[in-house]
């Protein structure tokens, strides 16, 4: 099982940290400091694996960022290297040619992706497509919310929709229209909307106009 994952820059600044074992803050800081120092001291052509305390450290550098994982003794180092690689691929796909700045400014997104990929220290979903699908669905919801802004009714509406992308897109379209023209709403929803949305849609539409 992976014990923790750290992302830090060449300057030694921590960019992301995920701990899969319960440790105190003090220990976390100590480990981070020590590891960052050790890894940064290593030359580029050197081995990506380290034995550190009773753990094995697997690290890899991508541009200015170091990705560093700690695994247990019986774990496979090479596959961990591939986990790092897959995570970078995921970030790259999501942000579109990712750079350190993307991760700095949107670190919560990086966390969401990581949680969708690794769960509790084990690889959960290794398919790139599936991970990003899960993230994008949640994101879409976010865009929608941002778009509809502070309507509480709208957010409950969001909660209700359980069928993923197609209906969401429809909804989006509908609501967009509803903000422009309230009358349109009833006409559209009559032939497009699934049954269970009707009520809240009406409520929501009414409020936002």
């Amino acid at each position: 099982m992976m014990q923790f994952m750290l992302l830090f820059s060449r300057q030694g600044k921590l960019r992301l940290q995920k701990w899969y074992v319960p440790l105190s803050d003090k220990e976390k800081k100590k480990i981070t400091r020590e590891l960052v120092q050790t890894v940064l001291a290593r030359k580029p052509k050197m081995c990506s694996f380290l034995e550190w305390r009773d753990l094995k450290i697997v690290y890899k550098r991508y541009a200015s960022l170091y990705f560093c994982c700690a695994i247990e003794d019986q774990d496979n180092e090479l596959i961990t290297l591939e986990i790092i690689h897959r995570y970078v691929e995921l970030l790259d796909k999501y942000f579109g040619s990712v750079c350190e700045l993307d991760i700095i400014f949107n670190f919560e997104k990086a966390y969401f992706i990581l949680d969708e990929f690794l769960l509790g220290g084990e690889a959960q979903e290794t398919s790139k497509k599936n991970v990003l699908k899960a993230i994008e669905q949640a994101d879409l919801l976010q865009e929608l919310c941002a778009f509809l802004s502070p309507s509480p009714v709208m957010s409950t509406l969001m909660c209700l929709c359980t069928d993923w992308l197609p209906s969401l897109l429809l909804l989006l379209l509908l609501l967009l229209l509803s903000t422009l023209h309230a009358e349109l709403l009833s006409a559209w929803h009559l032939f497009l909307c699934p049954e269970h949305l009707t009520l809240s849609l009406f409520g929501g539409g009414g409020q936002s106009t």
Binding site: L14, L16, M46, S48, I79, H85, E136
Partner: protein, 1131 residues
């Protein structure tokens, strides 16, 4: 209308572009997080950053606390807080708000809330409890995203105790139509299994269902659980081997959907997981291994592509092949595979190759030979990690022939390595090798010197310890010992003459010890010179006070001759006023011992025999002190865990009234076993105490029952017999059992061989030939298990002889060594068991012994003599050999019994026990219970042929009032006759056991006055008489008495009415009077002789007997409860 549609359509593209590139718009410079980050990057110093963040945190704190902050703002604030925490600034104030956000926010705010929670808290954090409800709600939500979020957070952290609350919901999710939910649910169960395996014990069938899930992702997730379970219990899952093999076959054959491919390799994560499981299942199991050979072969064959991921699978395959029951053609392929790794130009693969080689080299040393040139190259690799791994490999192939080269390489590495962890590890390995394979003394000492100087103060403390032990215990040959020690002394002297300031403290300690012990071996060396060198160490600034006391000890051993003494005096003067008390003490010792060389020789015998130090681990010699302290009112000792429990107890409301007096609870230090032949046994207090606690606990009895069961009297007692035996034999345990050593010797086989040379540079070849010396190509490949250890040069002396000797000795003598409780019975019985012992020896032994007798024997009604084996067992003396004891004593007893005075014949009396004996006299005694007192009857038996004159006998006791009954003691005793003396005893103050000591002086015709001392121990129970009272009287007395004790006793549960049965036992054994039994309660009364009543209230509670005793006499309840315990235990 039309322009409305038009507007809509123009708005759409921007919306859609948002969707397709969700990340791109996030770099908005207007966000507060953005400005914070930019603010930080513009700063130049750490100090400024700190100020900025503190300011930021302060404003965040204000905002989150404000009621006007919307959830949306809260989400933004939370993101900023996460950022600050990541930079290392604490923001614990926000934790609760993160939970709130997860609880109250809408889906997206929730998402951030959950993220913050998972980043801020860990599973032991108490705030996590507040999350349980939220998780519960979200798990029931109809929104998939919410369910996903809840499962995600649950699989990362969840309070252990709350698992049952959400377990049904998570289980339900295993049937969810969406595979993502099922997968997360399985991972959540995995987490539960990790943190609380017993909570999910009952749903193992659900795991099987997950394993059979139609979605490979869910199946993969379930393998995590299986790996864990199989690791713990491989036997229980052998039946699944076939399924795992089938799955692996399908995966390798590319039967999975394309989604699971990673760089066109089918599901590598799944493959590796399966390989790990298979290796666990096939370990040491030929039949199970048989099933997997084919698929392993297939895996090896398929993983041909040159990509990291295929190497990962190959590596796992190789590991698996070497773990399971070996099959030769697979091993061959695996070895080839390892070769590819080792020879690979990619450094990561090379490293793993070395690792694999290290793993297999013990089974197959040939493999190391094949790659020797690569290994030599790796030894000089610029990457320390590679170097380190190579050394690890070499460590495994070390033997007596190549040890010097390998150790040299290791020390070389140690000199450049800075990492403490590495140093500790490697130093230990060098020390191990040096001890095992050292070719000669010189090398050994020098290597250890380097180890000590490099390992310094970080190394494991057992390295210097075992080194010193090695030196002091010596080996098989005395001459060798001397040489080794002399060499050590020589080398240390020269080190001290150099620059001792640079040596680490531990090394200095070793040096001073060795010099103190063995510098006399160097004949041309003046001890004063050594003293001066040592004194120099004391003056060094960086010597720790621990080192200084070692130095002092060494100096104490060394000071002799005028020059030496003067140095010692000088030093001790300086340090006798030191602030450090230990140093001051050592200085004082040095001062005194240097003045008194005789004393010194006695205290610190030169080259002293340190092997026969007997350790009384039960500390029984302190028992007298302890019982005195207890009697004087000291609190009984409680082990730490119990003190803590009591502290925890203190927090619980006490529902019972405070007792009127402070109980001197002797009971809590009760004797529940006889592991040391003494009055009070410390360890047994354990059991007594915890039961005591569980009673006081009152309302929390349920919880404490568990405690009691662990430490309870029954559990403890079950170990009684072995403890009894081992407690008597205290022998310093040999480090290695002699058998093991012999095995190591006999199995050793070594054939020096010619190492094959390869066409390479001369130097490397030389190195190679020295490194791989002794790794025979011809030697049979031992596949299972490690290769046999080579003979050890420094073998510890075999101690088997010694040990057995001491065992047999201690059976006879150790009680006398420990304390004076040696009894004639013991001698008798040991004599019967050793018939070879000649009669004269026996008599001398008998006379030299001053008899002390512990007669806690039961009072026997005149009819049933010695018929109570259970009670007899209490008598430590009898325990050694009860049957022989009885056989020996019975005839004697019967004849003595006839001398019992007529007026006492009708009363209950104890068995007659011998007190002391010599050639002419033998004393025995028994006690007889009278209504108002106890009569001690002493039989003086003249067993010599001549008459004895002027017999005078004195009996006295600290705890009892003794008065002589009847005529003044006999003056004259005819040959082979018996005289009887009677003493009436009453109790001064209650004690668990009371003792009578006495002395008899007499004159034989030829010899002058002789004296014999004896003592006689009585349990307090002999003074207890039933107290006939009615229930009403009992009630009034109860309220009047002030001294009380409470305790839980074991209940005799095998009878129909446990309470009545238990009380009956007490009545029989202790002569208590049962006043009344009402339901689950019973009241009992007794008195100490006539005038000191004691009342007992018993209640059956949670399977034990809660007893409450009250008496006007202090200490009496405590003593009585002890006897009750004993009586019930012996039952």
């Amino acid at each position: 209308m039309s322009d409305v549609v038009e507007k809509t359509l123009t708005a759409l593209p921007s919306l859609l572009s948002l969707d397709s590139q969700p990340g791109s718009a996030k770099l908005s410079s207007t966000s507060k997080l953005g400005s914070l980050i930019r603010g930080i990057t513009e700063l130049t110093s750490k100090h400024e950053e700190e100020k900025l963040i503190q300011r930021e945190l302060l404003s965040i704190k204000e905002q989150v606390a404000s009621p006007n902050t919307t959830m949306r703002q809260m989400k933004e604030l939370m993101v900023r807080t996460i950022y600050c925490e990541m930079l290392g600034y604490e923001a614990s104030f926000s934790y609760i708000h993160a939970i709130k956000l997860a609880q109250q926010g809408s889906v997206l705010e929730k998402r951030v809330g959950y993220l913050a929670v998972s980043l801020f808290l860990n599973e032991s954090h108490e705030l996590l409890l507040l999350l349980v409800n939220t998780v519960l709600k979200d798990l029931q939500s109809t929104n998939l995203i919410e369910v996903c979020m809840a499962l995600t957070v649950v699989s990362q952290m969840f309070p252990k105790d709350m698992i049952p609350a959400i377990l049904p919901l998570v289980e339900e999710k295993l049937n969810h139509p969406k595979e993502i939910i099922r997968r997360k649910a399985v991972l959540a169960l995995y987490k539960f299994y990790l943190i609380a395996p017993n909570q999910v014990q009952h749903i193992h069938n659900k795991f099987r269902k997950a394993l059979c899930d139609k979605d490979p992702g869910v199946m993969t997730a379930s393998l995590h659980i299986y790996l864990q379970m199989i690791q713990e219990n491989p036997e229980g899952y052998k039946d699944l081997t076939g399924s795992f093999v089938t799955i692996l076959k399908q995966v390798v054959g590319g039967k999975l959907p394309m989604d699971f491919n990673y760089h066109s390799v089918p599901a590598p994560w799944l493959q590796i997981q399966l390989l790990r499981i298979l290796s666990l299942l096939g370990k040491n199991d030929p039949s199970t291994s048989e099933i997997m050979y084919e698929v392993l072969d297939e895996s090896l064959r398929r993983a041909g592509m040159n990509h990291n991921i295929t190497y990962a699978i190959l590596y796992e395959c190789v590991k698996c092949i070497y773990t399971i029951h070996p099959k030769s053609d697979l091993l061959e392929k695996a070895a080839k595979c390892i070769g590819n790794f080792v020879l690979s130009p990619k450094i990561n693969l090379k490293y793993l190759g070395l690792k694999a080689l290290t793993y297999v080299v013990q089974q197959d040393p040939k493999l190391a030979l094949q790659h020797q040139m690569t290994i030599i190259e790796c030894l000089d690799h610029p990457d320390l990690i590679i170097k380190r791994e190579t050394l690890e490999l070499l460590f495994r192939i070390t033997n007596a022939q190549n040890v010097t080269v390998i150790v040299e390489k290791m020390l070389e590495f140690l000199r450049i390595s800075k990492d403490d962890h590495n140093t500790i590890d490697l130093v230990g390995k060098v020390a191990e090798l040096a001890e095992k394979y050292a070719p000669d003394n010189e090398w050994f000492i020098e290597t250890m010197n380097t180890v000590f100087s490099i390992g310094g103060d970080v190394m494991q403390p057992d390295i210097p310890n075992s080194f010193l032990k090695l030196l002091s215990e010596g080996f098989d040959s005395v001459e060798e010992d001397r040489k080794l020690r002399l060499f050590a002394v020589n080398s240390y002297i020269s080190l001290l003459q150099g620059e001792p300031g640079k040596l680490p403290q531990r090394f200095l300690q070793v040096i001073s010890w060795v010099l103190g012990e063995y510098s006399y071996l160097k004949e041309d060396l003046e001890s004063a010179a050594v003293l001066r060198l040592l004194a120099k160490l004391l003056d060094m600034k960086n010597s720790s006070s621990e080192t200084k006391s070692w130095v002092f000890m060494a100096m104490t051993k060394l000071c002799e001759g005028t020059a030496g003494v003067s140095v010692a005096q000088e030093v001790s003067e300086t340090y006798s006023s030191s602030m450090d008390t230990v140093l001051r003490q050592r200085a004082q010792e040095l001062e005194h011992l240097s003045q008194d060389s005789e004393l010194c020789a006695k205290v610190l015998p030169r080259g002293g025999d340190r092997e026969h130090v007997e350790v009384d681990s039960s500390l029984s010699f302190l028992d007298g002190f302890v019982s005195e302290a207890l009697a004087a009112g000291a609190a009984p000792y409680k082990p730490p865990h119990q003190r803590q429990e009591e502290l925890a107890q203190a927090k619980v409301l006490s529902l019972e009234p405070y007792s009127l007096s402070l109980p001197i609870s002797m009971s809590s230090c009760s004797i529940t076993d006889r592991q040391s032949p003494t009055l009070l046994s410390m360890s047994s207090g354990l059991s007594g105490d915890s039961t005591d606690l569980s009673h006081k606990g009152g309302s929390t009895t349920l919880k404490l029952d568990g405690v009691k069961r662990v430490w309870g009297r029954e559990g403890y007692l079950s170990q009684k017999e072995p403890v009894e035996e081992s407690a008597q034999v205290e022998v310093p345990s040999p480090v290695r059992s002699p058998n093991q050593q012999e095995e190591g010797d006999s199995s050793h086989s070594q054939t020096p061989t010619v190492t094959p040379t390869l066409g390479c540079e001369q130097e490397k070849q030389q190195l190679a030939s020295s490194l791989f010396l002794g790794l025979s190509t011809q030697s049979p490949v031992c596949l299972m298990g490690k290769s046999e250890p080579a003979p050890q040069r420094f073998r510890r002396k075999a101690k088997s002889l010694n040990t057995s000797e001491q065992i047999s000795n201690s059976l006879i003598s150790s009680p006398s060594a420990v304390d004076n409780l040696l009894c004639n019975n013991l001698l008798d019985s040991s004599i019967t068991s050793e018939p070879d012992l000649s009669p004269p020896e026996r008599t001398t032994e008998l006379t030299t012994a001053n008899g002390t007798c512990n007669t806690e024997t039961a009072l026997t009604d005149s009819g049933m003599k010695g018929s109570n084996p259970a009670l007899n067992r209490d008598n430590s003396v009898d325990a050694t050999d009860p049957p022989s004891h009885e056989d020996m004593d019975r005839p004697k007893n019967v004849c003595l019994m006839s001398h019992l005075p007529a007026e006492l014949c009708g009363l209950a009396h104890s068995e007659i026990t011998p007190l002391c004996t010599n050639q002419s006299l033998s004393l025995s005694a028994c006690h007889v219970q009278k209504e108002d007192s106890l009569v001690l009857v002493v039989f003086i038996n003249n067993c010599s042929d001549s008459d004895i004159q002027q017999t005078r006998i004195q009996v006295d006791s600290e705890d009892l009032e003794v008065s002589c009954v009847g005529d003044s003691p006999v003056e004259e005793l005819r040959s082979l006759s018996v005289a009887v003396c009677q003493y009436s005893l009453t109790v001064k103050r209650p004690l668990v056991n009371v003792e009578v000591v006495g002395m008899i002086s007499y004159q034989l015709p030829v010899v002058t006055t002789q004296e014999l001392q004896f003592s006689y121990k009585l349990p307090l129970s002999s003074f207890i008489r039933p107290l006939m009272v009615s229930t009403e009287e009992y009630g009034t007395m109860w309220l009047a008495f002030s001294n009380d004790t409470k305790q839980n006793l074991t209940l005799i549960s095998d009878e129909q009415e446990p309470l009545a049965a238990t009380l009956n036992v007490l009545r029989k054994k202790l002569q208590l009077h049962i006043v009344e039994i009402i339901g689950m309660e019973g009241i009992v009364a007794c008195s100490l002789l006539q005038d000191q009543p004691c009342l007992m209230h018993c209640r059956v509670h949670a399977g034990t007997l809660a007893v409450w005793l009250r008496s006007p006499t202090p200490d009496l309840p405590d003593c009585l409860i002890y006897h009750c315990q004993r009586a019930l235990q012996c039952h």
